[in-house]
Symmetry: C2
Subunit: 443 residues, 2 copies
């Protein structure tokens, strides 16, 4: 755990500010925690699981540091009480998602593909990483309320993580006035306070960050959330560095790890606000500071839906800043249709600094990639997550990725919540005819 | 990996049989792999993840055994090709689910509660453990088809795991004739062959296991599936033995582990066919054979829905065998409403051998427990999974569990796929009034 109140800093102008007073720099850009100095002493941990494995790089939380030999004979209660801050509850289940080779998609993707399956988080998306850190910080700081502006994955995640912390905060979720009853119901399961807000949703995002109400908003690109979201890339890089990513062998002692800083050639993720994208860049910067990555950073590729692609447009145009888009059109990838991404410009910087790119893909390619991920690999994702494979296909076609590149697609959220009312209409056979039918099928 | 064709054995009469020719013993009971002898040499592994971490106790699969030092400088391709059987694809993502302390529910549960969140599997349920083993076995044996009888979690899981194996099998899923369009659509995403079958579904289950069609059926209590499902309990016991379950510290070398065989006092899981229940018992037997558990095994408690509880009825009545129930009534816990559980009698034996019990809980208690798991702990589960908390409440009331008992509730499947059309109807506030409203809320 780093100091309890690390300063914030601006990636662009270098200005610093105090947390939690500020979220944005005077220059207009988002702030993040100034942890790259602390990272110089970071080594791959020997223990710990989920996001808390990387507590040394987080602004809150503690890995229990008791000597295991000394506690061998202690009762479970004694062991627990030795460190009441030891992670527990749903926040302890965030992260530690599988990273797996997916050879069945190599030909389709045009490269050597891994997927990082973030749907295997407690509420079904990567958002749990940031929410766990946000809820833990609020509890440790004695804050009674956390909040967020979301009508999707982040809303559920914040509510669940607030519920799961002992003596933790309450959650307030601000949703758009026209939210569907189905989405409201999914959020309400975790019993947060929900308020509909009439008015511009982008403006709402910014105003909550400047609000003087005693609610710590953990919106999608806030410092606490970005700190938690860093752990996606930390896990990816640790798996590659340890050899686990290729051999599915978790080398389990730091000493046994390959010190060469082996990493994937590219990491590809969907981008909406730019919070996860920024966090991924931050993770690479910290690992570089810790001398755990080679100079040649993994290229970061960020993918938007073509229906709403202000960051990709700025990248194509060589612009220095992202200009807000108009109203997004309809898109299957609704959860990343962000017309005014608060960390859009920071995402541009991340792509350029790592030799990557920001691109966008149309709905037909997104839906085809979604179907392919399920049919040829067994992963059922939301359309936003399928932008990764759709983007990788384009990057392979353009020569930005090659057949021997090792590429990680981050599948950010589950497709389980999207139900189709109608499926196929398979034949009916009688029990008596079944054996014959199976022989015909397999013959 | 144990021998490629370990024999099968009957837990009740001790008869043996060859795999894959037989699934049921001549005495009528289900067979499982005869691995307790091999287990005598088993030690907690130093490496490996997911179900494949326990490959030494599985009938298929291999942990890569290369010396990490020797491969430090090898390229990723060379490392992979060194062991083509190294797990990859969605099956490599099965298992390794979080086990977390949930102190926010201790008072409600009346004990010291942990949850094992099986919803954090690739297709959202524990079924992926058995499906991964089944699909891997089929691929290694050159079988072109695997199948299952299911219209729920197992159907999706078998289809996904078949899709995710390179050069793996095709999948055929047999569903009841009256399956809903929504369920068909969810299964069809993974593109298996689906056949509706008219006729008794329980009879269908048995007939597929005796079929001479070249399809390896990995139904819910078949030997391959039970082998995979063992890993739920192996993970639970390893986490307790290592101290990770209390301290959230994954002690990562076998040497550092507490050798005392510390384990939870009780493991509680929903029961339907009895396959997972049997597998949990099998895991404990193997760990006992390996001298990794104290003589005092964790008590196994299995919970049914009161609408359909033939195993609980047999337990209450002190019967030796389970008698099939009539048609199950409607129940929220539809996924465990099994009127003729093929491993029901084995489940009875498991409860009795460990000093546990089989009980059932009514729908109102199941739905209340489901709501509590989300609202007070952040876990959104299907009603079947909530039978665990409902059962634990009853066991605490009856004195079977006490406040200092360490109890693991296995949350077997996600609630994400159950959508409610209508939610609450929260107030709408204008952007201008928001700050005031937040101050009122938090004041």
């Amino acid at each position: 755990m780093i100091d309890s109140a690390p300063p914030l800093t601006c990636y662009r102008c270098g200005a610093t500010a105090a947390f939690p007073d500020r979220k944005r720099c005077a220059c207009g850009e988002p702030l993040w925690f100034d942890t790259e100095g602390a990272a110089a002493d970071f080594a791959w941990p020997d223990s710990g699981t989920g996001v808390w494995r990387y507590a040394d790089l987080l602004p809150v939380g503690s890995r229990a540091r008791s000597d295991s030999r000394a506690t061998e004979s202690a009762s479970a209660s004694e062991r627990e009480s030795a460190d009441p801050r030891a992670p527990a509850g749903v926040g302890a289940a965030a992260g530690a998602t599988p990273l797996v080779r997916v050879p069945t998609l190599d030909a389709d993707a045009g490269c050597r593909l891994w997927v990082k399956d973030e749907s295997e988080n407690p509420t079904g998306s990567f958002k749990d990483r940031g929410s766990a850190v946000g809820a833990a910080w609020a509890a440790s700081a004695g804050r009674e309320w956390i909040g967020t502006v979301s009508h999707g994955n982040m809303a559920m995640s914040v509510a669940a993580n607030a519920a799961g912390v002992a003596d933790g905060p309450n959650a307030v979720v601000l949703v758009p006035d026209d939210i569907s009853g189905e989405r409201l119901a999914a959020i309400a399961r975790y019993d947060p306070t929900v308020l509909r807000v009439a008015g511009d949703y982008g403006r709402l995002y910014r105003e909550t960050l400047a609000s003087d109400a005693p609610v710590e908003f953990v919106n999608s690109d806030t410092p606490l959330r970005v700190a938690g979201q860093k752990t996606t890339a930390l896990e990816v890089c640790e798996a590659f560095a340890s050899g686990a990513a290729t051999e599915k062998e978790a080398e389990t002692t730091a000493e046994a790890r390959d010190p060469s800083g082996r990493a994937p050639d590219a990491i590809v993720l969907p981008v909406s606000s730019g919070g996860h994208a920024s966090a991924t860049w931050k993770a690479l910067r910290e690992l570089q500071a810790a001398n755990l990555l080679a100079d040649d950073l993994p290229r970061l590729y960020f993918v938007q839906t073509a229906a709403c692609d202000p960051i990709a447009a700025a990248f194509r145009e060589g612009a220095d800043e992202v200009t807000p888009d108009g109203d997004p059109g309809d898109t299957a990838a609704y959860s990343i249709a962000n017309a005014d991404p608060p960390s859009g410009t920071r995402t541009l910087a991340a792509a350029r600094a790592t030799g990557g790119a920001v691109l966008s893909v149309p709905d037909d390619e997104i839906l085809d990639a979604k179907a392919t991920l399920a049919r040829q690999a067994g992963f059922c994702v939301e359309p936003a997550s399928a932008t990764t494979l759709a983007g990788i296909r384009r990057l392979s076609s353009s020569g930005d990725l090659s057949a021997d590149d090792e590429v990680v697609a981050v599948l950010t959220g589950t497709g389980f919540r999207e139900l189709d009312a109608d499926g196929p209409n398979p034949d009916t056979v009688s029990l008596g005819d079944l054996s014959g039918r199976l022989r015909d099928l397999t013959g």
